[in-house]
Each structure stands twice: as C-alpha cells, then as structure tokens.
C-alpha cells in the first residue's frame, strides 16, 4: 500500500506535501470564509474580500449576525423541525430496516431470495424519479389532526410526517444490514437457540449488540440524508410550519442581502453535522469505504 518513506527523495516528499497542502487550502477556505464572514458586519466582509483578511477573524468581530438571524428568521423552528425529522427517521429506520435484514439474513423462509432481489432492484430507483407522483400521493393520504379535537385531514402536505415516513424504510440500509448480519457466524444464533432464545431474543441480545458499527454507519447515512434533505421538502412543504432547516436557508439566501447573516445562518445549519462529523469521523469514513467497493 504505502512504499517505505526512504524510497523517496526529500524533494519529492516536499513536492507531494505542497500539493497536499494546496488541496487542503482549496477544501478548507470556503468553509473558513463562511465562518469568518458570519462574525463580520456586511461592510467589512466586502472590504476584506481583496485580501487574506477574508479568512481571518480580524476587524470588528461580533455575534451580531447570529443574534439577528436567531431573532428574526424562524431558524429556531426550522432547526427543531430538522432535528425532529432526523431523529425520528434514524431511530425508526434503524429498527425497521435491521429487523427486515435480520429476517433476510438469519431466518429461513420461502421466497427470501425473491424479496432480496426486489430490494436490490429498488436500490437503483432514485427519489428524483418518483418525487412528482409521490407528491400527488401524499397530498391525499390521511393524517390525524388535533386542532379542535381529533380530526382526520386528507393531506400530508406541509407536515413533518411527510418528511419522515417515506424515508424510514430504506433499501440501501436493509441491504447494508443484510450484508453485515450475514457475516456474523451462525454459531452465535445456534448457541442461543440451544439455550432457548426466541428469534427476537437472538436479534435483541446477539445480533444487535454485535453490530454496533453497522448501526452507527446506517444511522450516519440515513441521518445525514434526513438532515440535508432538500428536494422533497421543497416539493411537499411549501409553507413555514414544518419547513426544515435547509429549505429555510435557501429561502433566507434568496430574500436576504446581508451576507454576514446568510453566512451565520449557513454556519448554524452546518454546525450539528460538523460536530457529528468530528466526533464520529471513523464511522463516517467507514460508512463510505465499507459500502462502496462491494457494489
């Protein structure tokens, strides 16, 4: 994989390092610009642009942009919506998809191969290809309302529900769980069955605890998709009540000329993902490296 270092000359190493660092600058600077601009007043963002100052916390630095954004833009509600949608989607998704994968990987039943085949086929249908008819469909689905007593409303549009339910079951997650579960030695199940465990107990006490990494990976992939969701809410959530953060940012960006505030908004929208990325970096990386090459 990596050749011994002494096989390269010092000049080669320095040259490689220079290229590596150049790319680091290219990849970091936009984010750095966003972060720095979010602390600066509009005038200063413009005047700093022509120099390195654009990437430095210099001049008049304050949290004023953040105060303004949080005070006026409805970002709090949008963030809560996004958090709620992400958490519910991930929790429900982990349970539903892993249980289905357990049935596929660890239980014996007729028609298993067919169902597995169907799931693989469904992997290739992107959301984009079905978004329009799905909008028509969810516009006529029933939902329970609680305004002025229990009532049934015949539309899922403009709800948080519509941003959660379609994304809980996920062909990719099932397939990913299926592969991971299939790699666990059969002896574990059999030992548990000899000890009197039911299949659900095998799932609960053996398979799930043994698959921590897999659960983390799927949680990250599904959670990231839910948090960063854009196309679907643009279609089905036209008004503000159930609007998620990314649509909020896009709207704010379109109708706002204060760059500092837009950058503060973007920073806030990125912060949770960024923190999660820093803390769970290993799993983020594994999630891609593990899922990629098998395909």
């Amino acid at each position: 994989m990596k050749p011994p270092l002494n096989s390269k000359t010092a000049a080669q190493r320095i040259a490689t390092y220079a290229i590596v660092l150049l790319f680091v600058v290219i990849f970091v600077s936009p984010f750095l610009f966003m972060l720095m601009a979010s602390f600066k007043p509009n005038q200063q963002i413009f005047s700093d642009l022509s120099s390195i100052r654009a990437f430095l916390p210099v001049g008049s630095i304050s949290l004023q942009n953040y105060r303004d954004v949080i005070g006026s833009s409805g970002i709090g509600r949008f963030a809560l919506n996004s958090a709620f949608i992400t958490i519910v989607t991930v929790c429900a998704g982990l349970f539903v998809n892993s249980l289905a994968a357990f049935a596929l990987a660890r239980l014996e039943w007729r028609g298993k191969g067919m169902v597995l085949g169907l799931i693989v086929v469904l992997l290739i249908i992107p959301l984009e290809a079905i978004a329009v008819p799905m909008m028509l469909m969810v516009a006529y689905l029933p939902t329970l309302g609680f305004e002025g007593g229990l009532s049934i409303q015949w539309s899922w549009l403009d709800t948080r529900l519509v941003q959660i339910v379609p994304f809980v079951a996920n062909a990719f997650s099932i397939f990913f769980f299926y592969q991971a579960f299939s790699d666990i030695p059969r002896d574990f199940d059999e030992a548990a069955y000899v000890d009197g465990a039911t299949p659900f107990q095998v799932y609960r006490h053996v398979i799930v605890p043994l698959s921590g990494t897999t659960f983390a990976t799927v949680a990250i992939i599904q959670g990231l998709a839910a948090w960063n969701q854009y196309l679907w809410p643009v279609i089905v959530v036209p008004s503000e009540g159930a609007r998620p953060l990314m649509v909020g940012l896009q709207q704010f960006f379109r109708f706002q000329t204060e760059w500092g505030e837009v950058m503060a908004y973007a920073t806030l929208a990125t912060l949770p993902v960024f923190l999660a990325f820093i803390f769970f970096q290993r799993w983020f990386v594994q999630s891609v490296m593990g899922s990629g090459v098998k395909g």
């Binding site: 590596v20 984009e128 079905i130 490296m289």
Partner: protein, 348 residues
C-alpha cells in the same frame, strides 16, 4: 435443509412487513404511478376531470423536427427568411412547435423545432454537466486518494479535510459558492485578478450563460470528490502490497507501478465510481435551485430542475411525471451501458 422449527415464514413476514410496506408504499407505488400518470393529463388542483391522453405527454416532451427554409425577398427589398412562427402557425403538422436552433447555408436555412425547447435544452444542459463533471470529479478523487495514500504523516487529517464537504448540505455549499462566484466581490474573481496583476476581467460566473454551468461543475466536483476519494482509497488498500514489492524488485518506476499495478487493481473501483458519479450527475437539482434557478436564459436548467419546475411549481403532475420517467429510463440505460462496457473491458 434446516429443521422444521427453523422455518420462520410467519415470523419473517412480521419482521419484514414494516420495511416492505414502506418500500412498496413509497417506492414501488409512486414508481408505478409515475408510469401511469404519464398517460393522463393529471394536474394537482384542477377543475377538469383527469383523462387518459395516451402518449401525448411524451410527444409534447420529446417532439423534435426540422424545417428547411429558402430566403424570400422582403417588403423593402432585402432578402430574409419567413418568420418561423408564421410557418408553424400555417402548417398543422408543426402546430405547437417552437424554434430550438438554426443554421444558415447561403440562401437556405435549417431550423430545428421542438415541442418543448426548454426540455430539450435542459436535457442537453444535463448531458453537458455530466460530460464535464464526471471526468473532473473522478480524476480529482483519484488524485486525492493517491495523495492521501502516499504515506505522508498526517494523512488521516488530510483525508478528513478532503471528505468534509461531502457531509455538508449541498444547500450550504451552494450558498457559500454563490458568494465565491459573485461578480464584483466574489473571491474567485478577486483571486484571478490578483494572480494576473489586474489583467483579468471580472466574470459574472453565475450570470453569464457561457460560464454558469462550468461554475456549477467546479463547485459540484469540489463538493463530491471526497466521497469517491474514500471509495478509491478502499480500492487502493485492497491491492496486495506484494504486487508493489514485486514490481519494485522488477525495477518498475513509480509511474510504471501506477500504470501496471494501481490502475489494473482499481479497474473495478473505477468502473463503480464512474457509474455512481454519472447517475448522481444526471440528478443535478439542488445547486441549480439554490444558485441560479435554472438561469440565465435556461442555461443551467436541468432535467430534474425542469421536472420540479413543471410538475410541482407548475402543478402539472402528468407532465412532471413524464419528465421523471424519461429521466429514469435515461439513467437506467446509462448505468446498464456503462456496466456492460466495463464488464467487457474487465473480461478481455
């Protein structure tokens, strides 16, 4: 064969049902609906009843024809061509067609007509985007993977940095880059002007039809390359070290090792990466929606953007579905063709 008690049909059904309901309800059914709706004139809110209209949506979407015109003498003595609109209005066969492009050869000209020129243009834009972004993004990703894999101290940190845009929302990335691309104040123009000692004329990247799509290409490659980089890294690490040692003993140079060990070892990964990048490229939507709204002059309108534009914002469900079905057929064909191509290459 397992014992009778291990046949868990009922239980498997119970465990699998929630997931299968979700997949069928929100993937299979909408997909079948999409196909069905294209044969109707369904609108989201419409006083009219929904009718079956056969393949007319497809005709409307894909209708393409060409006319040849000879120049005529104008009223004030100069030669010119009859207005296309007058021709289409006069000819029943050309009813509803609008000009898409034209070419003049002396006293004749050819005019390309489309029923929906914006869709054709969106389709061409999408292809253009894919043709530009796939090579750029894949080679950038491979370069990054090789750099990260070069065994320099701190490589994990570099890997993290290169991967970080992938986890960020495309909306956030698009917003930042919209600022970077700004004509008067954007950092990119500032940098180019500084680097050329002021000779560079500022470009309105997103406001100019010629540069808007390349700008989106650059930004998309920047955002997405980290993902493919990781896939390449996994592929690189799967190549047995012994092959490099053997090549080294045989006296191969670094470049020869790359050519004869790394590239062949990565062939499956490369194929996989190109396929997923192409499919993702054809779904281009968010960047356009946030940065340019399809403009200027429809130069960045894409198939997906146009589908949402017509199907959702224009509430023409049937027409929007038709676009998405065409889109699906397109990417399915592409994926199949690429897979065939790479399978044959790998086989020979």
């Amino acid at each position: 064969m397992r014992p009778q008690w291990a046949n868990r049909g009922a239980l498997a059904f119970l465990f699998g049902t929630p997931a299968m309901l979700g997949l069928i309800g929100f993937l299979v059914v909408p997909f079948l609906m999409a196909i069905g709706l294209t044969l109707t004139n369904q609108k989201l809110l419409s006083p009219q009843d929904t009718r079956i209209v056969g393949l007319s949506n497809y005709e409307r979407l894909l209708g393409l024809t060409m006319i040849r015109q000879d120049s005529v003498l104008g009223v004030n003595g100069d030669t010119g061509f009859e207005r296309v609109r007058d021709v289409t209005r006069r000819t029943p066969r050309l009813h509803g067609y609008k000009p898409l492009g034209q070419a003049e050869f002396g006293s004749t000209r050819l005019v390309l007509l489309a029923r929906d020129p914006i869709f054709i243009q969106s389709l061409l834009n999408t292809i253009l985007f894919a043709v530009m972004v796939v090579p750029l993004q894949c080679s950038l990703a491979l370069a990054l993977a090789l750099l990260v894999n070069a065994g320099l101290p701190g490589q994990r940190l570099f890997r993290t940095v290169y991967f970080s845009p992938v986890v960020m929302s495309m909306v956030v990335v698009a917003v930042i880059w919209a600022f970077l691309f700004n004509r008067d104040l954007g950092l990119i123009n500032q940098f180019l002007s500084w680097a050329t000692f002021g000779k560079f004329q500022p470009v309105d990247w997103l406001g100019n039809p010629a540069t808007a799509m390349p700008a989106i290409v650059i930004m998309s490659a920047w955002q997405g390359a980290g993902l493919q980089m990781l896939i390449f890294l996994a592929g690189l690490q799967a190549i047995p070290k012994e092959l490099y040692d053997a090549a080294r003993i045989d006296g191969a140079t670094a470049f020869q090792r790359f050519l004869h060990v790394t590239l062949p070892g990565l062939s499956r990964t490369i194929a996989f990466v190109i396929i997923i990048t192409t499919i993702a490229a054809f779904g281009l939507f968010t960047q356009v929606d946030v940065m340019t709204q399809g403009g200027p002059a429809n130069a960045t309108s894409t198939v997906m953007f146009y589908a949402i534009e017509r199907g959702v914002r224009g509430q023409d469900i049937a027409y929007g579905s038709t676009i998405t079905v065409v889109y699906f057929v397109l990417i399915a064909t592409l994926a199949l063709l690429q897979q065939r191509f790479f399978a044959r290459r790998a086989g020979s």
